[in-house]
């Protein structure tokens, strides 16, 4: 049979609803695409509604050809052909706009809806947040309702019916979706190589520091990574997240230097801490394990300095497992380390040199020298600030003796310089320090504002030892996060001491934690769901033998079976609310039969009336009243509730 509906012109309601949903579906792409592309799409929509606002008339063919040419040119000119994602999405959005322009029949609406679903999926190529997913599901609910509307023969859109039907169908699809999501086999790598381009503007630690780079980073409240500890959660003062180790300095900049030896393991002295880190995209290779790392899982790299990384830059949220201990066994200092650890930058002033010599004093031990230096920072009027004054040619000298205002990197670098002058091998370590515990999720949130730099010195018998000169100046920094919002130009930094705040503030704070928790859960269970996590989940579910094609088969069969089951549940005959009139009538009949009246099955109410009056003439009045009422209610229009109740009570009172 030919489909009678497809050829029909669209009703205005369908046309408008389709256009609106398409615009809504493409809306978030405004942030992803060049404004020229978004503008062209909007221009198409505007053209349609300005010149052809009715569904029966659409843009003429010559215009479509011209616009197609314009679109292709725009795509070729604007899109970076090497980046498949941008190119494809640009093309798709422009096609959707053109379809909107020429939409006329119900057949066109099918095409538009399919394009709409496609546009919705491409949104996830750019962002994968919980909010966006919710938005996408909402719009696809709308598209499904539109599809249903497209199959109704009526002109008007019964919105309630459509939304209800679509909600029923989509909701019933959720279990199938969950099942397929869990069971569908995940590949470790992509099918073909991807070029996602570099997302610009990601903040994160870089592998060299200039004075000022960390303080700049510290002004960002963005999340750097989240950590979930297996058992032991280290105390705040021990939460050092080790990034890069900087050996080399030209006086102003500190860099890693070259040739790093790979290393397998460090030996733990204290108990092993296992944890899982979910990192935000950084476009760099570095990972930030808890200090000090013990070994790297497969796929990750570690070197003798205790730096960790992965071969590819981190372009999207990435989760990895870490294994650390607060203290590791000391190891002998290699010649190379000895050399690098005593390298002196240029521009050391005599004053600094003399000060370093004075620290050493009369042959004091290395530990005592370190103590003395820390005491100096602690006792002299040093100020911890995010906006230190600019330093000139001899930054260490100027900082130590003149400005005395600085951020962690100032303290760390000058401390390391002092140690090297005093013949103690020392190096700068950058990374993060601290992290807030999310009370709801139980995980730690480390932000860019927790970026930190500290020093390590090599001490006989203890090996490389962490020394944090910042702690000597501002011990609160180590225990608490910086309240970045509060700092003013050059003023000393205040700390978020977590004191009791008002009820509203507490509530807002809780909401903040809730959101953070949701985000982490979302990224852990949904966005980061991969082959390994799938296997471990199946293990927990007791289905460890599923893999590869068996998994796929289970997914397919399970999906269809579950769909059928849900539908069958929906089909299950619901117990119908019994008709109260019918029940009353039956009740009455039962009473008559108990009284000895034989009622042939074909007796109607009128006949029953006569029959009963004949049989029980002494009750004629009651029978007449009941039957009269019943007939009036049964065959009258819209029986009133109270009258039905009256009949019921009359039947109840009736006795023979």
């Amino acid at each position: 049979m030919k489909d009678l509906l497809v050829q029909r012109p669209l009703s205005p309601a369908l046309f408008r609803a389709g256009s609106l949903l398409m615009v809504l579906a493409a809306l978030p792409h405004a942030w992803n695409l060049d404004f020229k592309v978004s503008g062209t799409f909007l221009l198409f929509v505007a053209l349609r509604f300005l010149f052809w606002p009715q569904p029966e008339k659409s843009a003429p063919a010559w215009l479509m050809v011209a616009l197609l040419a314009v679109s292709v040119m725009l795509v070729l000119y604007q899109a970076d052909l090497t980046e498949g994602r941008q190119f494809g999405v640009t093309l798709l959005v422009l096609m959707a706009g053109m379809k909107l322009l020429e939409m006329k029949t119900r057949r066109d609406l099918y095409v538009l809806i399919f394009l709409g679903y496609f546009v919705l999926v491409t949104l996830f190529l750019f962002y994968q947040t919980l909010a966006l997913t919710g938005y996408v599901l909402l719009i696809s609910l709308g598209f499904t309702a539109l599809l249903i509307g497209n199959n109704l023969a009526v002109e008007a859109l019964p919105l309630k019916l459509l939304l209800r039907k679509s909600l029923v169908m989509v909701t019933a699809s959720v279990p199938v979706m969950v099942l397929l999501f869990i069971l569908f086999p995940r590949l470790d790598g992509p099918l073909w190589s991807l070029n996602l381009g570099s997302s610009s503007g990601t903040t994160g630690m870089s592998d060299n520091i200039r004075l000022g780079s960390i303080s700049k980073l510290s002004q960002s409240r963005e999340v750097a990574f989240r950590v979930r500890f297996k058992e032991i959660v280290p105390p705040p003062a021990q939460r050092y997240w080790r990034g890069m180790v900087l050996w080399h300095s030209d006086g102003k900049n500190w860099t890693r230097g070259q040739a790093h030896l790979p290393k397998r393991t460090f030996k733990a002295v204290t108990s092993v801490i296992d944890y899982e880190v979910t990192m935000e995209a950084t476009n760099q290779h570095w990972l930030f394990p808890l200090d000090h790392v013990l070994y790297a899982d497969s796929g990750m790299l570690m070197n003798a300095d205790g730096e960790m990384g992965i071969p590819q830059p981190i372009e999207r949220r990435f989760t990895w497992k870490g294994h650390s201990a607060l203290r590791t066994e000391s190891e002998p200092l290699s010649n190379r380390e000895w050399q690098l650890g005593l390298q002196l930058p240029d521009g050391i002033t005599l004053r600094t040199q003399q000060f370093a010599t004075s620290l050493r004093g009369g042959n004091r031990s290395d530990e005592a020298v370190v103590e003395a230096a820390l005491d100096y920072f602690n006792q002299q009027p040093f100020i911890y600030t995010l906006q230190p004054p600019l330093l000139g040619k001899h930054p260490v000298d100027q900082f130590l003796f003149e400005t005395r205002k600085g951020f962690c990197e100032h303290y760390a670098t000058s401390f390391v310089t002092l140690m090297r002058l005093a013949d103690i091998p020392a190096r700068v370590v950058v990374g993060y320090q601290g992290g807030e515990l999310n009370p709801l999720g139980g995980h730690l949130v480390v932000r860019q504002s927790d970026a930190h730099a500290w020093a390590e010195v090599w001490l006989e018998g203890r090996g490389w030892t962490r020394v944090d000169p910042t702690a000597a100046v501002a011990p609160e920094r180590i225990e608490h996060s910086i309240a970045v919002e509060d700092y003013a130009d050059g003023s000393p930094i205040t700390f978020d001491l977590g004191g009791a705040s008002g009820f509203v503030a507490g509530f807002v704070n809780n909401l903040r934690w809730l959101r953070d928790n949701l985000q982490l859960k979302w990224h852990y269970w949904i966005v980061g769901f991969n082959n390994q996590r799938q296997q471990s989940l199946l293990q927990k579910l007791g289905l460890p033998q599923l893999d590869g094609y068996r998994l796929g088969l289970a997914a397919a069969l399970g999906g269809i079976g579950l769909g059928a089951l849900l539908f069958a549940i929906g089909l299950w005959p619901r117990r119908k609310e019994k008709d109260p009139l019918k029940k009353s009538y039956q009740h009455f009949k039962n009473k008559l039969e108990q009284g000895g009246l034989k009622i042939p099955p074909s007796t109607g109410p009128e006949d029953l009336n006569k029959l009963a009056i004949q049989a029980f003439p002494h009750k004629a009045g009651d029978i007449q009243a009941i039957m009269g009422q019943y007939i009036a209610l049964r065959y009258g229009a819209r029986p009133r509730r109270d009258m039905i109740t009256a009949l019921q009570s009359r039947v109840r009172r009736f006795h023979l």
Partner: protein
């Protein structure tokens, strides 16, 4: 050719064409339900294996096992869309994209059941068919309802290779659906297999089922203009004068009886609260004539029937009483719509048993 006119007036010539209700091009083939022998054999064998809903007690109920379902063109396109989305999700290892893909997969699975259910439990009851002239479209009236009161939307009904209609069945009220059939031949028309199909809700799948019905329609002979010669005057004139029934002269009032034409009700009398009265007309002074099948001896049977049908149709709009002689059958002269229908039906069924 000989047609006997019994007439008081000397001549009545009928030569204006009778306007037919339909302007369809008239086919020449067999009735639509029968299969042409060329492509027919295999199909006929196949159709024997089809599951067909058969009526029970005049009512056909569509059971779940009688329903066929297959994806439509859009369903196939949707499948391609799903595969594309899946490949993209795998390639970009994009889990939210997986979610949407799998959700849409679930929606497709749901659509299978919902489309199937949109036909399930429908009850179809044949009522009547409009009699028409051969070559016109007759409409078979079917009653569509679901005793459980579940709503069914966008159901397309049609006979084999005929035009279709779309109807919803949204509440427990019995809905009358008129299904067209282009008639080709006079006689009893058995429309054959009825197909019910639906693509609701998503249009991605098409569910359909075949129904056997007890429906039949009377198809009158295709009217054909023919020359009718007046021969002898009537040997049975009107003798009853001004009494009785006719259409000519007003003779008086009588009480309303069910079945009287509303055109003859005296509304003025009703307004004057005199009760429901019917105006009576004396009509016996009209011409009275016989249409005789045997008189048209130099035509073929079908042609004769066609000419007679045409004549009946023409005479029915004129102040004439006409009778029909059709072999053994004789219909006494009369007029009015039921008389016309009786004559036309007799012409339609000429030569058929029963």
């Amino acid at each position: 050719m000989r047609i006997r006119f019994y007439d008081r007036w000397p001549c009545l010539e009928i030569h204006q064409a009778v306007g037919l209700a339909s302007n369809r091009t008239l086919g020449t083939g067999q009735s639509g339900c029968r299969l042409t022998p060329g492509k027919g054999f295999m199909r006929q064998r196949l159709i024997q294996f089809l599951r067909v809903v058969r009526p029970e007690g005049g009512e056909s109920t569509i059971g779940g096992r009688k329903i066929y379902i297959l994806p439509t063109r859009y369903g196939l396109v949707f499948g391609v869309l799903l595969i594309t989305l899946l490949v993209a999700s795998i390639n970009y290892a994009n889990n939210p994209a997986f979610i949407l893909t799998f959700l849409l997969t679930g929606v497709f699975i749901q659509a299978i059941f919902h489309t199937w259910r949109n036909l399930l439990d429908l009850h179809l009851h044949w009522q009547q068919a409009d009699p028409v002239f051969a070559g016109e479209t007759t409409f078979f009236h079917f009653q569509l309802h679901d005793p459980k009161g579940r709503a069914h939307y966008t159901i397309q009904l049609g006979f084999n290779e005929q035009d279709t209609v779309v109807a919803p069945c949204v509440d427990e009220h019995r809905k009358i659906v008129k299904i067209p059939f282009l008639s080709r031949q006079r006689g009893r028309l058995n429309p054959g297999r009825l197909t019910l199909e639906t693509r609701f809700p998503l249009g991605l799948l098409r569910a359909w089922c075949y129904l056997e019905t007890e429906a039949e329609a009377i198809i009158w002979p295709r009217p054909m203009e023919g020359q009718l010669e007046q021969t002898e005057p009537a040997d049975e004139g009107s003798r009853e004068g001004d009494r009785g029934v006719g259409t000519d002269d007003f003779t008086g009032y009588r009480g309303y009886r069910p079945g009287d034409s509303l055109a003859q009700v005296s509304w003025k009398a009703l307004a004057g609260e005199k009760g429901l009265l019917v105006k009576q007309f004396g009509g016996d002074r009209v011409s009275q004539l016989w249409l005789d099948f045997d008189a048209l001896s130099d035509h073929g049977t079908e042609q004769r029937l066609s000419i007679l049908a045409h004549t009946v149709q023409t005479l029915s709009s004129q102040p004439v009483h006409y009778g029909l002689r059709l072999g053994d059958l004789e219909i006494a002269p009369g007029d009015g719509d039921s008389h016309r229908l009786q004559c036309l039906e007799a012409l339609a069924l000429y030569g058929e048993s029963s």
